[in-house]
Subunit: 215 residues, 2 copies
DNA sequence: TTGTCCTTACCTACCGTTAATTAATCTGAC
DNA sequence: GTCAGATTAATTAACGGTAGGTAAGGACAA
């Protein structure tokens, strides 16, 4: 046997397999609905291995959420500094989130699960901190838009909450009905609608077409 | 032959105590996070009593959701026939939902939990059917509004989804931060914003004030 | 006597977690 | 270079606890 270069020996292969398996399961069945036995089975390791790399189930969940959440927000935050106007920023953000939701729905489901979980559901982790981070970003953009007279109609927090509602509702819809397509066109249309409103006008700015058909 | 649900028998005290206790617990800790031991303790009955009135934990959850969901939608559906114009219908609906969310947050949390749960989370129940019923109502109203030239900007489904997003995001916000006040003014403001958009105009139609302060 | 409502006592399966131990790898004194 | 010793990584086998669920039967009204 020719000795090839020493196997990459990806540091902590077991650890990343565990994280991967945990992501799949937690994002489909939730925290309580997933057992440690399923996780280790999916990762192809034995149980004590999990306890070697993680303190316990909660620690595994928390670290997973932390990793995915950071990945997620880093991509979104990069947008603010590279795009100047409010409308374009909103479009860039919602397009980006749609791309992520299409490419790795598990990640998005995991994050939304944390945002929208019941008060006492899941492990103790600072949900507010995470939701806050995302909210603040939108709030800043809205405040900017208001100051530069690109927006009106409410304070920055209200506008941020409305926009998040529109965006998240669509991402949720995809999570429940994977055939839903979150296209860039849809993203732009939603921002246009957010800006122009749905009240009647002769020449509507936008003509959204629903991403899916119910029933 | 469809299995006909038995006529609403006289609900026994033990049965209603169980439903009440289950509502409290399920709406705070979720389905998997709640044990039947906690439920019976909260209801002040013994375990076999639960199994006397309900097939099992799943059955209890399903019947509870069915009851609360029907209560909920009945109140909302009444609005459509009693209010003529689109804008007023939307305002009436969101006001009503806000009132319900203020008065019985547990009910709302339970329902939203079903709508926004993970694909394999919780007991097998037809989430789509429930979500669908609510969605259809909004869709009908939007279609009506489009036909009567009270709305534009997209198809009925898109508008319904956007509106639901705005509304539900606020209800969720209250669920996570009970100090949030879902007032009639906020409700009206959200509809105005939905109709007029957040794009700048000299005299904004609405001037929303956020129902809470983050941090 | 029959059907309703509730009790005591118990079952099995699975949960998260751990002890005890071994295989593999690295370290440094000689 | 060799080899004791520490370190790291994984194993087997079980722990106590709790989960959902049940068998068998008693009290009591119709």
């Amino acid at each position: 046997m020719a000795t090839v270069a020493p196997a990459p020996k990806t540091v902590n292969e077991a650890e990343s397999k565990l994280l991967e398996s945990a992501l799949t399961l937690f994002s489909e069945k939730g925290y309580e609905g997933t057992s440690i036995r399923e996780i280790i089975e999916g990762a192809g390791v034995t149980r004590p291995v999990l306890y070697y790399y993680f303190e316990n189930k909660e620690d595994l969940f928390r670290r997973l959420v932390e990793i995915k959440f950071t990945e997620f927000t880093n991509q979104i935050e990069a947008i603010k500094s590279s795009v100047p106007t409010c409308a374009d920023r909103l479009k860039a953000i919602i397009r980006k989130e749609f791309v992520i939701a299409e490419r790795s729905p598990e990640t998005v489901r995991l994050i939304l699960q944390v945002f929208f979980s019941l008060p006492q559901q899941g492990p103790r982790l600072d949900k507010t901190r995470l939701a806050h981070a995302r909210f603040r970003l939108l709030e800043d953009i809205m405040r900017d838009g208001l100051e530069r007279n690109e927006l009106s109609g409410g304070d920055a927090q209200s506008l941020a909450l409305v926009f998040l509602g529109i965006m998240d509702m669509h991402i949720m819809a995809k999570s429940n009905r994977p055939e839903t397509r979150l296209t860039p066109d849809l993203a732009d249309g939603l921002v246009d609608l957010f800006l122009a409103g749905a009240g009647f006008r002769e020449a509507p700015v936008t003509a959204l077409v629903s991403p899916y058909t119910f029933g």
